[in-house]
């Protein structure tokens, strides 16, 4: 395979982008663990990392996370295979259910973070 194989077709390129998005996401999550460690002594001694560079990095990582999640969940229809009354469930319905679960999980996590963050 030539070194630049992934630039030859758009599908290869977007596949590499999909895989690459995991890397900055992993770095951000590592930083998130550091922040949790720093916050263990309570709110009095905690000062969140709020530099412009970090905010920009976080926004980029958020976009990467959304791209990765959307491409991942869109592929669920090809992976999951269920039969109901001997008939397969349409893949579009499976994909839709994955997005619905994602949205529901985001609402629950958001609620927990905001509710317990205030108390």
């Amino acid at each position: 395979m030539p070194r630049g194989w992934w630039t030859r077709r758009s599908n290869y390129f977007w596949y590499i982008v999909r895989e690459f998005t995991s890397l900055p996401l992993a770095l951000w999550l590592l930083w998130f663990l550091v922040e949790i460690r720093r916050a263990q002594d309570g709110p009095a001694g905690y000062h969140p990392h709020g530099s412009l560079g970090f905010v920009v990095f976080s926004v980029i990582v958020l976009l990467f996370a959304l791209y990765h999640s959307v491409t991942f969940l869109s592929l669920a229809g090809a992976i999951l295979h269920f039969n109901v009354a001997d008939r397969p469930i349409p893949s579009q319905l499976i994909v839709l259910s994955q997005f619905a679960l994602w949205a529901a999980a985001s609402v629950v996590v958001g609620f927990v973070l905001i509710y317990f963050g205030r108390t």
Binding site: M1, W5, W6, R8, R9, N11, Y12, Y15, E19, L75, A78, I79, L80, H81, N83, D86, R87, P88
Partner: protein, 179 residues
């Protein structure tokens, strides 16, 4: 063959679709070239044979025992994966196979799934060591291009991902075995 860099069934490709641009025709990607447009298919044939693409029974059934019967729902389970014509376009499109020719590859895995889903077959246990090998399904990183170039709509990428899920469930839930 490769037509303008894309794996194509050339017996089904028409010059009118490319006219008036010049057309570049090359041998299939990812295979050793024997001469001109001829490629060496040996690796693919070995992989095809390795997954035992035939109905396997634990106990031989006598010929006088009558035909196997299947419902349309049982046939629909594997019909899509039985449409493969072994054209190898999926192998030419697969960068994983291009980087590691030890990879079992899309068509062989799709065919293995075709037989594993067949209600008459009891050979899952014999195929599992090949398809769940380190160079089997787990090498696939779901580029998906195999399914894009497939001229018969077999969707080998789907077959591989479903096999990954099945083998994982088989590992996690041993009571779900079927063989």
């Amino acid at each position: 063959m490769m037509v303008d860099g894309v794996p194509k069934l050339t017996c089904n490709a028409f010059l009118r679709d490319y006219w008036p641009r010049p057309v570049t025709v090359e041998p299939l990607n990812n295979f050793p070239i024997v001469r001109d447009l001829v490629i060496d298919m040996d690796d693919f044939m070995h992989k095809l044979k390795a997954i035992k693409p035939w109905v396997i029974r634990k106990q031989p059934v006598p010929l006088g025992g009558g035909p196997f019967t299947q419902t349309t729902a049982q046939i629909d389970e594997f019909r899509q994966f039985s449409q493969c014509i072994n054209c190898m376009l999926c192998y030419a499109a697969c960068p994983v196979y291009g980087l590691n020719d030890g990879f079992l590859g899309p068509a062989a895995t799709a065919l293995a799934r075709r037989y594993n889903l067949d209600s008459r077959d009891q050979g899952l246990g014999q195929r599992l060591p090949v398809i769940a090998d380190s160079e089997g399904i787990w090498e696939c990183s779901f580029v998906g291009e195999c399914s894009v170039v497939c001229p018969k709509g077999v969707d080998p990428a789907k077959a591989i991902q479903q096999t990954k899920l099945d083998t994982t469930m088989r590992f996690v839930l041993p009571f779900g075995n079927r063989d």
